[in-house]
Point group: C2
Chain length 313, copies 2
């Protein structure tokens, strides 16, 4: 059986725009996803930076359907589908697979802490068995600073043994390169695609057999990150990495999600983009100014963004 | 306007029974809720020990509706309604208020960590405004070992100032008596009801103006806990507290949720009760035996349980 091409490269956990009443705004969402695809950036919609965990299951399904209705290519999508509740995870995953998405990024159930490896194996296994679709490609999502519950090499080993096709890779957002390296060393040769959770580790990840990165900052700086992904063997890879790091440091000096939205609001000339759902709060005006001033000093730009967003605003 | 009587005393975060296919079992759920009410125990359905965060919103709504259809008294209920997503929390809270529940136990949105007090204020405020019902009574749920995101005195102060009727109290599951004492000292005199998150702190809580306790172990040991709640001023209160502690220590020597279910399975003669949803796992046979042996040594019993459960099994 012919295996369809795996998704690799740079993906953005697409930030989710909200109306004044805090309801998701499909028009602005479609506009941003379209702009990202023009920058050769994949769409890890409904990630941590998408405030996906502040959305109901129905809201996520409606947003994905709006992208499909707007002919955004599902083969460029890796929606986040991992919830606390087994039945929610199954429902979102089934929907993504039926939509033709390249894969799904799946958090472990994250409410209960100190759960056993056996319990997490059972959680993922139950989802795979219930979805029961040969097209399913799961990327395990390790983000201990937020989810606390994490992915271990022992869990991956057990899952790969039983589900070598469905378990396609992982995103490591531990922020700890030695952890990413451990998974690369253990599983990359078997075709398990390890995505770094930040472009800060993109060069190191590619040099060690990784699949790319899924990074918050790809919402605002996708083309330069994609350039390094394609050119990591070139002699200027290190300076490229340093330039990416400078942008990330500037955007990430405050809370990442409102900062990303502020940057889009500024470069798209669309203040509505700044809105976040509670429990997050918007940057203060002074914080927003610091971020934009910092980016200006770096000659940062978002080419084509304002035009791409003009219709939705 | 006449204020309806607040719910106080002992409440159980009612464990949720599952069928073999892991779907919620309304018959067994109703049977257990009925038994608990015969023991003078309130129903904090959909708490942490209910595996509520492993249930979808629709599953919680269907279970609550099954209780109402079975004429279980909503004035004895305090369902958990706090989710990661604002819209889910609003939907569950509205449903509980319309059903006539005495109150709701509300986790803060718990996915995003290190959120500001302002963000949490905004989260609770948004729910209260959206529900917009004078009958709403919220009990803030502080359980940092699990939710990580917690409730601060500063947050309570701000919420009480703006919403003195809707914000009725809290459950403190920090496991740290000095924290419970801090909230009692700051707010109990204003009629803010602090429930201890474990009967281990029931006597101390009552001596300091608390409202009772909402405790996992009330699923299996409700009458003795209620006895101490009613008799905390009596001379044998300390030995009563010690007897409660001995039962809790025995049940809690392994993971609490599967242990509680194992105890019910044993005393109801209904092995189906042992089932848990992933990421939890059932106790091993040896662990189950240790718990039951330990309880037997304490002359522990669950009077009327087997009869109450016979019809549902």
């Amino acid at each position: 059986m012919k295996q369809s091409q795996r998704i690799r490269g740079v993906l953005s956990p697409v930030v989710t725009p909200f109306d004044k009443d805090l309801s998701p705004d499909p028009e602005r969402f479609i506009a941003h996803c379209r702009w990202l695809t023009t920058q050769n950036c994949g769409l890890a919609v409904f990630g941590t930076n998408s405030e996906a965990n502040s959305l109901s299951v129905n809201e996520r399904i409606a947003l994905l359907d709006s992208l499909l209705a707007a002919d955004v290519d599902p083969s460029r999508m890796m929606p986040g589908t991992g919830c606390c509740a087994l039945t929610d995870t199954v429902r979102l995953t089934e929907h993504a697979v039926k939509a033709g998405c390249a894969g799904v990024l799946m958090l472990p159930p994250f409410y209960y802490k100190d759960v056993s490896e056996d319990g997490l194996y059972r959680a993922y296994s139950e989802v795979i068995e219930r979805v029961g679709d040969a097209r399913l490609r799961i990327y395990l999502y390790h983000i201990p600073p937020v989810a606390v519950v994490g992915i271990t090499t022992g869990l991956v080993e057990r899952l790969l043994k039983k589900y070598p096709t469905a378990v396609a890779g992982m995103k490591d957002s531990s922020g700890d390169w030695s952890n990413t390296k451990k998974f690369l060393d253990a599983f990359a040769k078997q075709g398990f695609d390890v995505f770094a959770g930040s472009e800060s580790f993109l060069l190191a990840n590619m040099r060690n057999g990784g699949g790319g990165c899924i990074s918050a900052t790809a919402n605002v700086n996708p083309a330069p990150i994609d350039k390094l992904y394609r050119e990591w063997k070139k002699s200027d890879a290190e300076p490229q990495q340093e330039a990416l790091n400078a942008v990330r440091k500037t955007v990430g000096q405050y809370v990442m999600i409102p900062a990303l939205k502020q940057v889009i609001a500024h470069y798209a000339n669309d203040p509505a983009w700044a809105t976040v759902r509670p429990p997050l709060v918007e940057l203060t005006a002074a914080q927003a100014k610091n971020v934009i001033d910092g980016l200006t000093k770096l000659n940062f730009e978002m080419p084509g963004l304002a035009q791409a967003h003009a219709k939705a605003a």
